[in-house]
Amino acid sequence: MRLEATGTAARLDHRVIGRIATADSPPEVREDAVLLWRHEDMATDGDTEGYLALLTPLPTLPTWARSIPAVTGVEGLEHLQAGDVVLLTPAGFVRILYRRHSEHNFLLVAQDCNSYCLMCSQPPRPSDDIGRVHEHLRLIDLVDPGTRELGLTGGEPTLLRDHFLEIVQRCKSRLPGTALHVLTNGRLFFYNKFAERLGAIGHTNLMLGIPLYSDVDSEHDYVVQAKGAFDQTVVGLNHLARYGVPIEIRVVLHRQTYQRLPRLAEFVVRNFPFVRQVVLMGLEFTGLTLTHPDDLWIDPAEYQGQLREATAYLHAAGLRVRIYNHQLCVLDQSLWQFAAQSISDWKREYLSCCGSCAVRSACGGVFATSRGRHSEHIKPFSGTAAIGPALISR
């Protein structure tokens, strides 16, 4: 599924963020709306009064629409629906920022990062992130308050400092019913005051997903390529706990992290028993991983022993465990109950051999973004008899 496209811009002299309207909208909502004009299903009475802009797959504009800003000739966005939010730029670039009917919406609020993880799927780059904050705030205003969950990601969102808090605050006031999930390395919460201020916002449905790659500082620092990062994150976790901010520990499993996974599990239970859940994640074969694949790639089948030991221990100790990004056929069946369909809908796919699989509907599939690098052990299940109990207990 494409989230970006390019067309030809007309009369667009600044970046526009608006909510998609597909039918004639009442005048009072038009000031936030981008009119999506699909030739076949739109009335053509020429009433474009008050819309922010017009977006169309057609190569040229009809005469009645030649007075408002527009992007024409945009292809591949057939899945756009009313209530989705798009960004249009003067260069004719279109990005879908929010999809109303998706469970996987996230705001990429920062490009920059203070770590440089070996396997980063979203390689950081210096950027005027603070200059874009107003766009994120505007997007939050346009999101449907009925949205179940919204993510904040980066880069490193907390590098926005005060603006990060402002974004969380805005989510709380505009989207009180929406769970907010923030992906952060937690390093900035080394500063107690920052954690205290986040806690003081009092967002009641907030969770920070914070990666921890080892029980030992030097190992973690190596993975994130930043000396001192482990100490900052560890202190940050304690500060966040002190102010009641819910935390999820995230571990990406690859050749540099899988061996000490059981030790990491013990470390979490003894030092951070307050975390809400621990998420053990398969590697997305993209981003920086591509620059040194042999350092990172390991067939998940090879680390099932460590995964099973760590999961059983965490679960026994009363921590909630989730396994992300693993196909059911690659997981030990005792782990099925922990497996989640975690890959976002727009980048999830199934291999051709999965077509006949009996548990395909319960499986999270593979990353479409992983360039074909998947476990060698992916295979369809034929019957349901052997796998019934494991699925039922899920």
């Binding site: 100490d231 239970v269 028993p273 059983a312 207990s393």
Partner: protein
């Protein structure tokens, strides 16, 4: 998979961009963080740090570790570092983490005295062979707690800063003085409401005298019951004589009524091991299952009071008890493997200390001892004792653990006086001879009252101590069981977590 030429280019870029592991390792030598150790058979050394985290090392790794010879890229080095046995930089973060864990392990000290025992009467209609204190008498005036004393005891109870307070009624047989229970519950409820505290009530009783009127009151006030159950009828009735010799039958009948009125979880049972019990651990465990209990406490006889006097008849040496414990625990595990959840309470307590960062508030096994600072006993006559065993000793004529009097002394005199201070100072096993360098120290505790009763001295002499023998044996046994197989580990963790109804990792997934 990828074309070789492109791949090589990528790798070259990668190598330029990423620093290797060595760049993140400390260049300074490591230093040791506080730990204790114990040699195990099979050429192993158990190391336990100050906050109770443990690790088994080979003897040679242990020698290299303590000899500062480990290399920073060895697995064992990283594991020792991750568990805070060694540190290798000037970062204070490992010390901060240890501080949080040390504070957590001592969280039971927060709030001061939480368990308040009210001896509302010394009268009883049973004549149990091991009982330290009860009297069979009609003399209410002499052995019942007066209204004024009870009132004063409630005042003392709520002087403790604890947010959650537990009041336990004991005797004698407390149901013989039901009106005093009613008074204390009502006054305590009012006090708790006025001071924003939470209070729980439990009555320790043989349940023989449990009337419908009492049940109705207990139900209204959410009072739970702790009954005596020593095993099947032939053991229970032998241990606990009463007119008619039907203690077991009467207790079980009352148990059924109590569960119906108060709910299944509102009644727990306590067993005492006598010489007769020693040959029947399986039957005793099975009796608990038969009666629908989900926890059992395989408890040795308190070597105090009447029990000490009658020791030649019902007593036994500690090694015999430990054989009994081991067999009983085996049976408990078997029962769990069969799908019935049954917790052995002492193991649960020790395992929680060994395997979690949390503290446990069991007053007879903590450091400093819970005597006075975790538990207080208000005796029927207005005297305040540092522990239940302390007042039992007093009934035998030795008031060594009497902290003061409700009528004559102030709260500060009783709980801030020299007796309490002396007890605390003499029961920190971090500094007790024979404890301070024991590997099990962070998991264990001290019992000055026991020491005094058995050895005549509150500090005690560890090599001859039954308390030491018992705990060292059970801890070692639990460690071995935990290492032995995954099934046992799962059962132990379920005990630690407590109530696990609906646990998806139940036994069937073995």
């Amino acid at each position: 998979m990828t074309g070789p030429l492109i791949l090589r280019q990528g790798q070259r870029i990668g190598r330029q961009r990423f620093s290797g592991r060595e760049a993140f390792r400390s260049v300074s030598a490591y230093y040791l963080l506080p730990f204790r150790f114990e040699r195990f058979c099979g050429n192993e050394v158990l190391v336990v740090n100050d906050v109770g985290e443990h690790l088994f090392l080979t003897a040679s790794d242990f020698a290299r570790f303590t000899g500062h010879e480990l290399r920073s890229d060895e697995d064992v080095y990283l594991t020792l570092k991750g568990k805070h046995f060694l540190a290798d930089s000037d970062s204070l973060v490992p010390v901060d983490l240890l501080a949080i864990k040390a504070r957590t392990k001592r969280a039971h000290l927060e709030g001061f005295t939480k368990l308040h025992i009210f001896v509302v009467t010394l009268r009883c209609e049973h004549t149990c062979r091991y009982c330290q204190v009860s009297r069979v008498t009609q003399d209410r005036k002499r052995f019942d707690m007066s209204e004024a004393i009870a009132h004063r005891a409630v005042e003392f109870t709520f002087r403790a800063p604890a947010e959650r307070i537990k009041i336990e009624f004991q005797g004698g047989e407390p149901l013989l003085h039901f009106e005093r229970i009613v008074q204390v519950v009502r006054e305590a409820r009012a006090k708790a409401a006025a001071t924003g505290r939470h209070v729980d009530f439990v009555v320790a009783s043989n349940l023989a005298l449990l009337s419908d009127e009492m049940l109705e009151f207990f139900q209204q006030e959410r009072v739970s019951l702790s009954m005596s159950l020593d095993g099947p009828a032939f053991i229970h009735n032998m241990n606990r004589p009463r007119p008619g010799g039907d203690s077991h039958e009467v207790a079980i009948a009352s148990l059924t009524r109590a569960r119906a009125a108060l709910g299944a979880d509102a009644v727990s049972a306590l067993m005492t091991t006598t010489r007769l019990s020693l040959d029947h651990p399986r039957q005793i465990v099975d009796e608990y299952v038969l009666q629908g209990f989900h926890s059992i406490f395989l408890r040795s006889l308190t070597p105090l009071g009447f029990a000490r006097r009658t020791a030649p008849r019902i007593g036994y040496d500690i090694d015999r008890f430990l054989r009994f414990y081991e067999e009983g625990l085996d049976r408990v595990l078997e029962v769990n493997r069969g799908g019935y959840q049954l917790v052995e309470v002492y193991a649960q307590l020790l395992l929680t200390r060994m395997l979690t960062p949390y503290s446990t508030g069991y007053v007879d096994l903590q450091s400093p001892s819970g005597a006075g600072i975790g538990v207080a006993v208000y005796n029927y006559d207005g005297d305040v004792y540092a522990s239940d065993e302390g007042r039992m000793l007093a009934e035998m004529g030795d008031k060594r653990f009497r902290l003061g009097s409700l009528q004559a002394d102030s709260y500060d005199e009783v709980f801030g006086g020299t007796r309490v201070r002396e007890l605390v100072e003499s029961s920190c096993n971090e500094s007790l001879p024979g404890c301070s360098d024991c590997a099990f120290q962070p998991w264990c505790g001290a019992d000055p009252v026991f020491n005094y009763a058995t050895q005549g001295d509150i500090v005690g002499h560890r090599p001859d101590s039954d308390f030491h023998r018992k705990n060292a044996f059970i801890i070692r046994h639990l460690l071995e069981l935990y290492r032995s197989d995954e099934g046992v580990r799962r059962i132990f963790w379920r005990w630690i977590r407590g109530n696990t109804i609906g646990d998806p990792n139940a036994e069937s997934t073995t």
